[in-house]
């Protein structure tokens, strides 16, 4: 079978083998348009690769781990990451490798190429995969081309592509991918042309930038824009941007650079060239009998078409929006760098200051009227920061993902989450809190008299050092009572803190959290050594960004928790007053404001456990994502309401709906962590990894199928929770 076809060899029956992009290029070539030298690695090669390496079934197993609809976006990203790594770490079988080496080597041995996706389901008029599958520019050398072919294949399974395919109802089992390999044309002016303006069919649109097209396509370089009247071929408007940057070939791909001054004052196309581009595109439209979206570049005076596809305007706005949202979760390195600056230099210091300012006002000293106003203000402040959390902090988490991808591309490790080890042992606030707890527990452990007094609830006669440590802890992290007794109903007091410390003191200090610095140093060296010298600085920057992003994943909740705690303290004061003096006139004001701030009323998760009468349905093995390696056994402690945390005993398995950093103070006592919410980079997984605990995330109904007291085994290697013993 002819696995690789040149554009000239592609026949009309080959469309399903070469994909929309490959087929359109072949038609352009056949009809005399100027296109770069192009070959198509057919979808047969993809099929041969995934079947002969066993990847086909591994991918399907990965995707059928649980119902796709039950997966959160983060879990889908994790799936995509694991699949991408499968492609990266699987070499081509020998016969396939030989054939591709010959076909690619013959044509592009010393040339730089673009490696582009061309999925058979892509670019027809029904669905648009624009931007969802990967393309790589400026790739050189046969080995590198082979690697990038595998990366394009893997992008068939990217999170965004999976979500989109699910949304438009395409069957993942039938998904396949052809790849177009195209000689790079280092055009000095490039752009796209729509032969029909989706908003006004009497017009066409040309957008153009200096350099390569990538900046225009991904939105980082602002283009010049011409609107053209289709009937008269006259330019209706020309909108010049502030021309500042262009994309040029970089060491491995493309890079953005400042546009030289003499170019920035002139549009990339003159009016004759605008006309030439538009006329060529109209010919393509005529040829394909449909309005076209054509990518082109000028190589000197020669106009070269890079691809042509039908304009997909028939799709509903909603789907367009959703695809945009999936894509927006992937931020560029530069975007994340700016976000980091904003978060670290502005938002975090402001959050800390806000919490401090609020704590300076003692609610007990306020009049009812002022207290009501204070509650309102604190509620609004809290609300504002919750919004910032979604708008800036959540997208910033992509820094970890981006680094993971860079790390996996560079090193192709067996464990696609090896990179997380390089990010751990950062100074996370929750770890600092837990270290203080362990230090306090250590003092109690070695002082039996102190332990006895605290057990009796007597803290009147603490020695000064211990007292000041406790005060410092409460000052920094609160007395944990709200976490244990629950939201706005919390009862402030040190009881829960002492109970936790006593439980910790009754058992030896956990071995986890010890210094893994040797391993981390060697991983860091391995990572940096995988880059050429001229790329090392960027690799270091990427690592620093990821560490900051990783740390913030945990800390943002702690900082947010501090602001919320101040709101709760004011609410608490109001409730005390209402209880003490129910008939007072001003109490209505307090009642009103309490109604307004009615949030966090629920426990962490309050689903009822199913009744156990007569016939019994129960879980034996539950599969989630392996999020922390290791095996542990223990009794389950299912956190359904906040007070369950207060009962947590050493050696139990923490089972909860969603671990949030404000409850992870029990983790040093835990044997393992099981979480309903899925993902490798969620708090439960991060904190478990810090303590070296087996962890499984993404088990649907974990808190209803598992009950407190159940003997469970947590297999953090495979992601399987087993309930009960081996008996029937």
């Amino acid at each position: 079978m002819n696995w690789i076809l040149s554009a000239e060899q592609i026949q009309s029956g080959d469309r399903s083998r070469v994909g929309g992009k490959g087929y359109a290029l072949a038609q352009l070539a056949r009809r005399g348009f100027n296109i770069p030298r192009t070959v198509c690695v057919t979808s047969d090669v993809y099929q041969e690769f995934v079947i002969s390496t066993g990847l086909r079934e591994r991918i399907l197993l990965e995707l059928h781990r649980k119902d796709f609809k039950e997966m959160r976006w983060e879990e889908i990203w994790d799936c995509a990451t694991r699949i991408r790594n499968m492609f990266l770490s699987k070499p081509f079988p020998n016969d396939l490798s030989r054939e591709i080496h010959i076909a690619i080597g013959d044509r592009f041995r010393d040339k730089s190429v673009a490696v582009r996706s061309s999925a058979p389901e892509e670019d027809d008029a029904r669905s648009s995969f624009a931007g969802l599958h990967e393309s790589y520019i400026n790739v050189s050398g046969v080995e590198s081309i082979l690697k990038h072919i595998r990366l394009v294949w893997a992008s068939l399974w990217s999170d965004a592509a999976l979500l989109y395919r699910q949304e438009i109802g395409l069957d993942v089992e039938k998904s396949t991918m052809a790849v177009v390999v195209q000689e790079t044309v280092a055009g000095d002016r490039s752009g796209v042309v729509f032969t029909k303006n989706p908003n006004d069919e009497s017009q066409g649109i040309i957008e153009s930038v200096y350099g390569l097209n990538q900046g225009l396509v991904d939105g980082t370089v602002e283009p010049d824009r011409w609107i053209i009247d289709r009937a008269s071929n006259k330019i209706v408007t020309h909108t010049p941007p502030e021309r500042k940057y262009w994309m040029i070939p970089g060491p491995d791909g493309v890079r953005m650079a400042e546009l030289p001054g003499h170019k920035s004052s002139h549009p990339p196309l003159n009016s004759v060239e605008v006309d030439a581009v538009f006329q060529t595109a109209l010919k393509a439209e005529d040829s394909f009998k449909m309005p076209q979206d054509v990518e082109w570049t000028y190589d000197g005076d020669s106009l070269v078409l890079l691809q042509s596809r039908p304009i997909t305007t028939l799709r509903s706005d909603k789907k367009e929006d959703d695809r945009g949202w999936y894509l927006s979760l992937h931020r560029s390195f530069d975007n994340l760098k700016n976000l980091r600056q904003k978060i670290e230099d502005e938002l975090i210091p402001e959050m800390i200051a806000v919490a401090e300012n609020l704590s300076a006002i003692d609610p007990a000293g306020l009049s009812d009227q002022d207290l009501a106003a204070e509650i309102k203000e604190r509620w609004e402040t809290n609300h504002k920061w919750v919004n910032i959390y979604w708008a800036d902090f959540i997208p910033y988490a992509h820094g970890v993902r981006l680094f993971g991808q860079v790390y996996n591309d560079a090193l192709q490790p067996d464990d696609p989450y090896e990179f997380i080890d390089l990010l751990t042992n950062t100074d996370m606030a929750s770890i600092a809190r837990n270290n203080m707890l362990m230090e306090l527990a250590g003092i109690i452990r070695s002082d039996q008299h102190l332990a006895e007094k605290l057990s009796q609830g007597d803290d009147s006669d603490l020695d000064n050092k211990f007292r000041s440590m406790i005060d410092e802890f409460i000052d920094k992290f609160g007395d944990l009572s709200c976490s244990v007794t629950g939201g706005k109903n919390c009862v402030l007091g040190t009881g829960p803190l002492y109970s936790l410390l006593l439980e910790m003191a009754r058992h030896p200090a956990p071995a986890g959290g010890d210094q893994k610095s040797d391993r981390i140093n060697s991983l860091k060296q391995k990572y940096l050594n995988s880059f050429d010298d001229d790329q090392k600085d960027r690799a270091v920057e990427m690592l620093e960004l990821a560490r900051s992003s990783y740390q913030l994943r945990d800390d943002d909740n702690i900082y947010l928790g501090r602001i919320e705690a101040q709101l709760l303290a004011a609410v608490q004061e109001a409730k005390l007053r209402l209880e003490d003096m129910p008939g007072r006139q001003a109490s209505n004001m307090l009642k009103e404001v309490l109604k307004e701030v009615d949030f966090r009323t629920g426990a962490p998760h309050s689903d009822q456990a199913p009744n156990d009468v007569g016939e019994r349905l129960k879980a034996r093995q539950l599969v989630g994502q392996p999020a922390g390696p290791g095996i542990a056994q223990g009794r389950a402690r299912v956190i359904r309401k906040h007070s369950d945390l207060g009962d947590f005993k050493h050696g139990e398995v923490l089972v909860c709906d969603a671990v949030d950093p404000n409850i992870t103070f029990v983790v040093p006592l835990a044997a393992a962590v099981v979480e309903r919410r899925g993902g490798m980079l969620i708090h439960g997984a991060i904190i478990a990894r810090e303590y070296g605990l087996p962890c499984i995330t993404g088990i649907p109904d974990a808190t209803t199928l598992i009950k407190t007291g159940d003997a469970i085994t947590v297999d953090g290697y495979l992601g399987i929770v087993t309930l009960g013993d081996s008996g029937l």
Binding site: E57, L617, R620
Partner: protein, 150 residues
């Protein structure tokens, strides 16, 4: 979360589409597996099969009536790992004869009409497994159990 009704529905679908089951018995502690053509009752409380009384499986279950029956939807392809469902029933076997056996036999033959001659042979026995519990494996490693009310 799967409900008991959904669990039962999945069992029925599987039992309706599969003809063969692996039966597990033992002899002095040595496990022994054999293939049987089975039929399950509508209420899922019983699984039936027919076997010559001269067989090892019959001798084994006569000596110890505790048995396991495995039914699965695999098709001997890699895709089985994510697609197939496998169910193990655990229970106690006994020979059914006399008045009730003819009704069961008719139902059994409706599923396996080509076995008419075989099942009517005087050397064969109709065996009923009263199921205590079902263990269903899907998505490769997800296991749920249904313990029937006895």
């Amino acid at each position: 979360m799967v409900s008991k009704d959904q669990f039962r529905q999945r069992l029925k679908e599987l039992f309706n589409t599969q003809k063969l089951a692996a039966l597990s018995t033992h002899h002095s502690g040595q496990p022994y597996a054999s293939l049987v053509a089975f039929h399950a009752s509508d209420d899922l409380k019983h699984i039936y099969f027919v076997t010559p009384t001269t067989t090892r499986k019959f001798a084994n279950l006569s000596a110890d009536n505790r048995v396991a029956v495995l039914v699965n939807s695999s098709t001997n392809q890699a895709a089985d790992f994510h697609r197939a469902i496998s169910v193990t029933a655990v229970g106690k076997a006994e020979v059914v004869d006399g008045s009730g056996s003819e009704t069961i036999m008719i139902q059994y033959l409706a599923k396996h009409p080509h076995l008419e001659e075989f099942v009517r042979s005087p050397s064969c026995a109709l065996v009923q497994v009263a199921v205590d519990s079902y263990y269903m494996v899907k998505n490769f490693q997800n296991v749920m159990e249904l313990h029937l009310e006895i």
